[in-house]
């Protein structure tokens, strides 16, 4: 199933909204910079920067990749590790 709108229509409709969201992100980083204390070593900061990078890469699944940046890893051997017997 495709999106009935053209790229030009999506851009006209969403330009101001996207602009506003980017500004919010920029202002939030400024706020972190201005506030006292240092969180640069907090792993969440690295996640935020990584997500920003992923969001600006020219792929078709940016949203999925951003989600994975903020996800704990999955270990397919978890059932053995946790001793949970499958049915």
């Amino acid at each position: 199933m495709s999106l009935p709108l053209t790229a030009a229509e999506v851009l006209s409709r969403e330009f101001l909204e996207i602009r506003a969201k980017i500004l919010e992100v920029a202002a939030a980083f400024d706020r972190l910079e201005r506030s006292t204390g240092d969180v640069s070593e907090d792993p969440r900061i690295a996640r935020l920067h990584e997500a920003l990078k992923v969001a600006s890469e020219p792929t078709e699944d940016r949203a999925e990749q951003v989600q994975l940046v903020f996800s704990r890893p999955y270990d397919e051997t978890w059932q053995r590790a946790m001793k949970v017997l499958p049915r």
């Binding site: 199933m1 495709s2 999106l3 009935p4 709108l5 409709r13 699944d61 949203a63 999925e64 989600q67 994975l68 903020f70 996800s71 704990r72 890893p73 999955y74 270990d75 397919e76 978890w78 059932q79 946790m82 001793k83 949970v84 017997l85 499958p86 049915r87």
Partner: protein
């Protein structure tokens, strides 16, 4: 447009919300059993909650012409207490014959622990024993991906299950594909901040198509919006998707899925009209 909300916690909403939902086109809904905002201490606490779901809410909904269905279980958060969970699971069959009970749910994982997994599997035993449909809660935020994959491992490892009778809820961009590829139904929860927005739900529909996908509002104790499904309908219309596609996602898909429950006796507005004419 008439729509069906497949996942909404009406016990946490006021009666005015039923009126608003009715005005927006909601003709039916299904309410999974969930966490009450605090851990309940006894099996009797759950027995009372199940009476609320099977006796009180259907009446409150019917005042506004909304058909109310529900699902029973002990949710993943309280499943950490294995002894209490087992008592609740043993008590659930008392309610399985109630006319609005669709199955077992919302079971799932919360922090992806061993205890949660054990109780999840014991709920699968209950569903298999009583031939019940299953509705599944997937964890939030950073736990969602790992938890969804763990849930899928447990589901696909169980040969007793009919995958077309299982709905995996709260899917997002990184989990929807896994759920659909394994043959399960998937629900997108439209929820501010922590889950999916109407816009992103439309994106996911455009990428995966309308097959086996539904949208719901959750409408629970948290900052949620019970009218999120109409927001989704509006966004789909603004993108010029056909009325037939929208109706399929918000009405026909839920009816197709829920019709597999023995107790689902949904009557559309059209059949109600015919029935009242025939007297």
């Amino acid at each position: 447009m008439d729509y069906f909300d497949p996942h909404i916690h009406m016990v946490s909403r006021i009666t005015d919300d039923y009126e608003t939902l009715a005005k927006m086109g909601c003709v039916g809904l299904s309410e999974p059993a969930f966490w009450a905002g605090f851990d309940r201490g006894t099996v009797d606490g759950f027995r009372d909650y199940f009476r609320q779901l099977t006796e009180v809410e259907p009446k409150r909904a019917a005042q506004y012409g909304i058909q109310h269905y529900c699902w029973l279980c002990i949710n993943a958060k309280e499943a950490e207490n294995v002894n209490l969970s087992r008592e609740v699971i043993a008590m659930i069959p008392e309610f399985l014959d109630k006319p609005n009970v669709l199955g077992i749910g919302e079971i799932g994982l919360n922090k992806n622990t061993r205890n949660e997994s054990i109780i999840f599997l014991e709920h699968l035993d209950l569903a298999a024993k009583y031939d019940q449909q299953i509705l599944i809660h997937t964890p939030h935020l950073e736990d969602k991906y790992q938890g969804t994959r763990m849930i899928l491992d447990m589901l696909t490892g169980d040969s007793r299950l009919d995958r077309s009778r299982v709905l995996v809820d709260h899917v997002e961009e990184h989990t929807v594909r896994h759920v659909l590829e394994e043959g399960f139904w998937a629900g997108m929860t439209l929820y501010p901040v922590t889950k999916c927005t109407p816009q992103r739900a439309c994106d996911i529909i455009e990428m995966y198509g309308p097959e086996r996908l539904m949208v719901n509002s959750a409408g629970d104790w948290g900052p949620s919006k019970p009218t999120a499904v109409p927001d989704f309908i509006l966004e789909m219309r603004r993108r010029r998707h056909s009325e037939a596609t929208i109706r399929r996602i918000v009405y026909e898909n839920p009816l197709t899925f829920f019709s597999q429950s023995q107790s689902f006796r949904f009557r559309s507005r059209e059949t109600e009209e015919v029935a009242s004419k025939l007297g």
